[in-house]
């Protein structure tokens, strides 16, 4: 039978933790509300942007534009790949960080040569994780100057990131750029995703509704396709990064809320079990005392 004092101490400590998890639950739920609002207002833009760019690209004439250059002269194992990974700044959000990190790891492992991979990690947790890993073996290098938080995404931050990767792409420090983030499918379903940012793929043939391939008419570009693309692609990168940041932030808050809710519930369960155990122990102690007193009294009587 466990000691009564031990049980009491445990209950007290669980109650302390319960207070913390409950407070975190409330905090994340109010943050989630805010994140949801910004997600709802950004989502139309995010999806429309992808859709429009796709249809613009279908109508783009052949250009010698830099952002379309697939650099196919560089062999697969020499290609420098950049990955922007969006994680959380803090832990305690269930499997959110774990999922995106595992996913990133998996994606990295599929590439030919890890030493040609460059990671741009947003969020403290992911940065720590990859930095720790990059130290021991032949692993992808992490840009330690890339310090961006994932809290409250802003368009300005997205712009800085977009400029950074585009700059690196132009300078041939990167040949391909991918964006890894968590997408909010519904409020309960989250999915890790990869989006290719650069280089762009152009398709000359679109599929018609009946599945036959039709040649798409070319749209005119003013003043010239090159100039439009010079402007459009940074704009697109910025929009996509911003959208992904908003999605990821919303997912993070959602996961934290769920995790903290679960923690609160299980803390309550534990307190219930422990108080039952405590009452039993107390009862047992009382019963024992009575037995002892009775035993003692009986002993006296017989004398």
């Amino acid at each position: 039978m466990p000691n009564m004092r031990e049980i009491r101490e445990r209950i007290a400590s669980i109650q302390q933790i319960l207070k913390i998890t409950n407070a975190m639950y409330l905090m994340s739920s109010s943050k989630l509300k805010k994140a949801r609002k910004s997600l709802d207002s950004t989502e139309p833009y995010f999806y429309k942007l992808q859709e429009t760019i796709e249809s613009v690209l279908e109508h783009t004439p052949h250009t010698k534009q830099l952002f379309f250059d697939r650099r196919s002269d560089i062999p697969e194992d020499k290609r420098k790949k950049g990955y922007i990974v969006i994680t959380a700044d803090k832990g305690l959000c269930g499997s959110y960080n774990h999922n995106i990190l595992k996913y990133a790891e998996q994606t990295l492992n599929e590439t030919a040569d890890l030493s040609n991979c460059y990671l741009f990690v947003m969020g403290q947790v992911g940065r720590m994780y990859f930095q720790r890993r990059s130290r021991n073996e032949n692993k992808a290098s992490v840009d330690s100057e890339f310090l961006y938080t994932t809290q409250n995404p802003t368009l300005y931050r997205a712009m800085e990131i977009a400029e950074l990767v585009i700059e690196k792409f132009k300078a041939r420090e990167l040949d391909e750029v991918y964006l890894l983030y968590t997408d909010m499918v519904t409020s309960n379903v989250q999915e890790t995703r990869t989006l290719r940012l650069l280089p762009f793929e152009r398709r000359h043939f679109g599929k018609a509704a009946d599945g036959t391939i039709k040649k798409l008419p070319k749209a005119s570009f003013s003043p010239s396709p090159e100039e439009v693309m010079d402007y459009l692609i940074p704009q697109y990168a910025k929009g996509i990064i911003y959208g992904a940041m908003v999605e990821a932030f919303c997912c993070e808050q959602q996961s934290r809320m769920t995790a903290m809710d679960a923690a609160t519930t299980s803390a309550k369960d534990m307190i219930k079990d422990l108080s039952l155990m405590y009452n039993r122990a107390r009862q047992a102690a009382i019963t024992q005392e009575i037995t002892e007193v009775c035993g003692g009294a009986n002993g006296l009587k017989e004398d």
Binding site: Y45, K48, V56, F221, S222, P223, E227, V228, Y231, Q235
Partner: protein, 136 residues
């Protein structure tokens, strides 16, 4: 009534406008450009500037910052960083942003910072211009 086409103006923070329009005038890089129904397919970029569109014979104005437009004969899509009606513009905030940018331009800056400040100044001035022109 004139023939209309579908116009969608989507900013990063909201759907600004969605509906039938008779006439749309945008500020492109090299000047104003009018778009009506049946326009040839066109893609162009929109720098920070002013925009107007006609709904039921009424011109509507908006301040827009950095975006692009895709035009097809029966519809047009504008995607922009931000888009505001003249009456929605916070003059005080724009004024402050303008002063801040001007202040920053006087300091020594890197090229990137210089461009960013210039863009910020541009946005602030555009907001002020549109709001002064159409909302008093």
């Amino acid at each position: 009534m004139a023939k209309t086409f579908k116009l969608e103006i989507i900013a990063t923070d909201r759907i600004f406008f969605q509906g039938e329009t008779e006439h749309l005038v945008i500020t492109a890089i090299d000047g104003l450009m009018g778009i009506m129904a049946g326009h040839e397919p066109l893609v162009t970029v929109l720098p920070t500037g002013e925009l107007k569109y006609m709904v039921d014979g009424q011109w509507k104005y908006a301040a827009i910052s950095e975006g692009f437009i895709q035009v097809q004969p029966d519809r047009a899509v504008i995607l922009a960083d931000s888009c505001e009606l003249p009456e929605e513009i916070d003059i005080k905030r724009a004024e402050e942003a303008k002063q801040r940018a001007e202040e920053a331009l006087r300091q020594k800056q890197s090229i990137v910072e210089y461009y960013q400040t210039q863009a910020a100044l541009n946005r602030a001035m555009n907001r002020l211009k549109v709001s002064q022109k159409h909302f008093k």
